[in-house]
C-alpha cells in the first residue's frame, strides 16, 4: 500500500502530522519515497520527465484488470522462491538456491507432464504435476542439505554454485531428451497437454497459481507460528546450542527444512510451466530465485509480509516494461530502481531482525 502511495507521489512531506506518534509512519513513507525521488533525479539527468513516467508506470499496473493481473503473475514465483529463502532463514540457514531449485522443479514437472501425465484429466494431472515439481526442487535442495549435514559444507555457497549447474542441466535436457520432436530442433520441450494448464481468469493472463502461492504462504505462516514444529524451527534458528540441549536432532531438522524449501521453489517452477509458459525453455524463470530471496529479506523472512514485498517487486518488474518502452531508457534501468528501493529498505533496518 505504501508503495502505491509512493508511485502516485501522493504524500507531500510537509503535510505529514507532526505528532511523535506518527514519526515511524513518516519515516517509513520517506524510506519508500526516497528511492523514487533519487531515481527521478537520475531520470531528469537523462532527459525523461519522472512524473509522467511514474504516472505511466502506475497506470500500466493499476489502470485495469489486465495490468493488475500481470503484477500478480510476476509476483507469484517471487512468493514461492521467497518462502524457499524465508523458511530456512528462520531455522538459521541461508538458501540462495531458489534459482536452481525452481529450474529443476520446472524440469522435472515438465518431464512428467510430457511423458506420463498428458492423458490424465485435470483434477488428477495438475496435482501430480505439482507434486513432480515439488519433488524436483526438493531433490535439488536435498543435495545442498546432504552436503551441509554430512560434509559440513556451507549451504549458502553450495546452493549458489548449484544454481549454475541447474541452469546447464536444463540446457542438457531441452537440447537432448526433452527436446520437442516437432520443434525443428529448437531447444525447448514439447508443449504440455492443455488438460495440465492451470485455469486462467478471463481478460487477463492470470492463472490460479497465485492462489496456490498465497495458500502456501499461509501454510508456512501457520506452521512457523502456530505449531510445535514451527516452534522448534524457530528455536533452532535462534540458538543452535539451545536446540541441541533441548534434545533436538539438529541435522535432521536442517535436512528437512532445506528439502521443504526446495519443494516450495520447485512448485514455483511447475507454476511457471503450467500457468504461463506451457513448455520448458532454457531461460524459464531466470532470476526469479534471486528476486525471491530479496523479497524474503525485505519481509524479514515473515511469510505474510512476504506477500506484500513480492507484490512490490512484481510491480516494479512490470512497471519496468513501460519504463523501457515509454522512455527509451535501457532495460537495465529497472535494476537500478529496484536496487535503490532495496538499499533503502535494507539500510533502514528491514531484514536486520532475522528472528523474532
Amino acid at each position: 500500500m505504501k508503495a502505491t502511495a509512493a508511485l502516485a507521489t501522493a504524500l507531500p512531506e510537509g503535510q505529514a502530522p507532526r505528532s511523535p506518534r506518527w514519526r515511524p509512519a513518516l519515516r517509513q513513507t520517506l524510506i519508500i519515497l526516497a528511492p523514487f525521488a533519487l531515481f527521478a533525479i537520475f531520470l531528469l539527468a537523462n532527459g525523461v520527465n519522472p512524473l509522467l513516467l511514474y504516472r505511466a508506470m502506475f497506470v500500466s499496473t493499476f489502470g485495469d484488470l489486465y495490468g493488475f493481473g500481470e503484477v500478480l503473475i510476476k509476483a507469484t514465483p517471487f512468493v514461492l522462491t521467497g518462502l524457499a529463502a524465508a523458511l530456512p532463514a528462520r531455522a538459521g540457514m541461508i538458501n540462495v538456491g531458489g534459482e536452481g531449485q525452481l529450474a529443476i522443479g520446472a524440469l522435472v514437472s515438465t518431464g512428467f507432464a510430457v511423458f506420463l501425465l498428458g492423458g490424465l484429466p485435470s483434477w488428477l494431472g495438475i496435482p501430480l504435476m505439482l507434486l513432480a515439481g515439488a519433488v524436483g526442487g526438493a531433490l535439488w535442495a536435498g543435495v545442498v542439505a546432504l552436503l551441509k549435514v554430512k560434509g559440513n559444507l556451507n549451504e549458502t555457497i553450495t546452493s549458489l554454485l548449484l544454481n549454475y549447474v541447474a541452469a546447464f542441466t536444463v540446457g542438457l535436457f531441452v537440447h537432448g531428451l526433452l527436446k520437442d520432436p516437432e520443434s525443428f530442433n529448437w531447444p525447448f520441450s514439447p508443449e504440455i497437454n492443455w488438460t495440465l494448464r492451470l485455469p486462467i481468469i478471463d481478460g487477463t493472463r492470470l492463472h490460479v497459481g497465485f492462489v496456490i502461492a498465497i495458500v502456501l504462504a499461509l501454510a508456512v505462516w501457520y506452521v512457523l507460528g502456530r505449531t510445535r514444529l514451527g516452534f522448534r524451527i524457530r528455536v533452532l534458528g535462534g540458538n543452535r546450542l539451545a536446540a541441541e540441549r533441548a534434545g533436538m536432532n539438529v541435522s535432521r531438522m536442517q535436512l528437512w527444512v532445506l528439502i521443504a524449501a526446495g519443494a516450495l521453489a520447485g512448485i514455483a517452477g511447475m507454476i511457471e510451466i503450467a500457468g504461463i509458459e506451457g513448455r520448458l525453455r532454457p531461460s524459464t524463470g531466470v532470476n526469479y530465485g534471486y528476486l525471491g530471496f530479496l523479497a524474503a529479506w525485505m519481509a524479514w523472512n515473515k511469510p505474510l509480509r512476504l506477500l506484500l514485498t513480492a507484490f512490490v517487486l512484481g510491480m516494479i518488474s512490470v512497471a519496468g516494461n513501460s519504463l523501457e518502452i515509454g522512455s527509451g531508457l535501457p532495460s537495465s534501468s529497472v535494476h537500478i530502481l529496484m536496487a535503490l528501493v532495496l538499499f533503502f529498505l535494507l539500510g533502514s533496518g528491514a531484514g536486520r531482525k532475522v528472528k523474532t
Binding site: A89, G92, I94, V96, L147, G151, N152, L153, N154, T156, I157, T158, L160, L161, L162, Y164, V165, F168, T169, G171, L172, H175, G176, G237, N239, R240, Y290, F293, L294, W297, M298, L329, P330, S332, S333, V334, H335, I336, M338, A339, L340, L342, F343, L346, G347, S348, G349, G351, R352, V354, K355
Partner: protein, 303 residues
C-alpha cells in the same frame, strides 16, 4: 596439451583470483560481500572507460579499482553503519552493479582499446613448458601472482594483519587497544572492493579487451565461493581460482577432441569440480570460519 590447459588456467582464472583475494580480506574482517560481482562489473567498466579515454591501461586499472571500491562502499555503509543484512545487501549490490554498469556502459560496447598485452619475460619465457605457462602473460597477471604472498605476509606476519583478523574474530581486543573495529571493517571491505575492481579490469582490459553488459557472468559469485573453499587462506584461494580456470580450459579442450560428450555437461564441470574440491577440503580438515562471519551465516548478527 597439458601446457595449454595450465596456461588457460592462468588466463581465465586471474580475474576470479584477484576478486577472491579481495573477498578474503573482507571476510577476514568479518564482512561477506556477495556484491563482489557488482564490484567486478564496476571495475571492468571503469577500467575499460578510462583506458578508452586516456589510452593508458594503468590509469584504467586505478580507475577500475576505484569503481570497485565505490561499489563496495555502498555495501560497507549499509552493512557496517546501518546494520543491514550482509547477504541480502550483497545480492542487491550485484543487481545494482548490473543495472548501473549496463546503463553507463552502453557507449563503450563498440570501443576499441590497446589495453594490456602479454609480455614474455626474457629468458624465463624460453623454459620449455613452464615458460609458456607462467612467463607469457599480461602485467596484471604477474602482479596478481606477486600479490598473493604479499597478502599472506600482510595478514599473518604484520600488526596490520592482526588488526584485520581481530575485527573478524574478537573485536573486544581491538576495543581494548583503542582501535575502532568498524573502521577496520570499512577498510577491509573497501580494499576487497578495490581488488575485485582490478579483477574486473583484468577481465575487460587485459583478457578480452572488451566491455559488454553483464560481462562478469557469475565470476564474482565463484570468487566468493572460493574463499570458503580456501578456508580464508590466500594461497589456497589462488589455487582454487586456477583450478576453476583449468576446468574451463579443460572443457574447451575436451570439446575439440570430438569426444561424444554433451557440451552442457562440460559447462557444468568447473562448478562441479569446485564443489568436489570444497567437499574434499572440508573432509580433510574442518575449516574455521572467522567468528563474526559465522554469526552472519547463522543469522545472529547483522553487521
Amino acid at each position: 596439451m597439458i601446457a595449454d590447459i595450465l596456461t588457460g588456467a592462468l588466463r581465465s582464472g586471474t580475474s576470479v583470483m584477484l576478486a577472491s583475494q579481495g573477498e578474503l580480506i573482507s571476510e577476514r574482517a568479518g564482512v561477506i560481500n556477495l556484491g563482489t560481482e557488482g564490484s567486478m562489473l564496476g571495475g571492468a567498466l571503469g577500467g575499460f572507460a578510462v583506458t578508452v579515454w586516456t589510452g593508458n591501461p594503468w590509469l584504467g586499472t586505478l580507475a577500475g579499482g576505484l569503481c570497485g571500491l565505490l561499489m563496495s562502499l555502498i555495501h560497507a555503509f549499509l552493512v557496517i553503519t546501518c546494520g543491514a543484512n550482509q547477504l541480502a545487501t550483497g545480492l542487491t549490490l550485484m543487481f545494482f552493479g548490473m543495472g548501473v554498469t549496463a546503463f553507463f556502459g552502453r557507449g563503450f560496447v563498440s570501443e576499441q582499446i590497446v589495453g594490456f598485452n602479454p609480455v614474455p619475460i626474457p629468458l624465463l619465457a624460453d623454459i620449455p613448458l613452464l615458460g609458456q605457462v607462467l612467463f607469457n602473460h599480461d602485467p596484471l597477471t604477474y602482479l596478481s601472482i606477486l600479490l598473493v604472498p604479499l597478502l599472506w605476509l600482510l595478514l599473518f606476519r604484520t600488526r596490520l594483519g592482526v588488526i584485520v583478523r581481530a575485527a573478524g574474530e574478537r573485536e573486544e581486543v581491538l576495543l581494548a587497544a583503542g582501535i575502532n573495529p568498524q573502521l577496520v571493517r570499512y577498510a577491509a571491505v573497501l580494499a576487497g572492493g578495490f581488488l575485485a575492481g582490478v579483477g574486473g579490469v583484468q577481465l575487460a582490459v587485459a583478457f578480452t579487451h572488451s566491455w559488454v553488459e553483464n560481462m562478469v557472468q557469475g565470476r564474482g559469485v565463484v570468487a566468493v565461493a572460493l574463499v570458503i573453499f580456501a578456508s580464508w587462506k590466500p594461497l589456497r584461494a589462488m589455487l582454487g581460482a586456477y583450478l576453476f580456470g583449468a576446468a574451463q580450459a579443460l572443457q574447451l579442450t575436451v570439446q575439440q577432441s570430438g569426444l561424444p560428450i554433451s557440451p552442457f555437461f562440460l559447462f557444468m564441470l568447473p562448478y562441479l569440480l569446485t564443489l568436489a574440491a570444497l567437499y574434499l577440503v572440508e573432509l580433510r580438515q574442518r575449516s574455521r570460519m572467522p567468528e563474526a562471519l559465522g554469526r552472519v551465516f547463522t543469522g545472529t548478527s547483522g553487521g
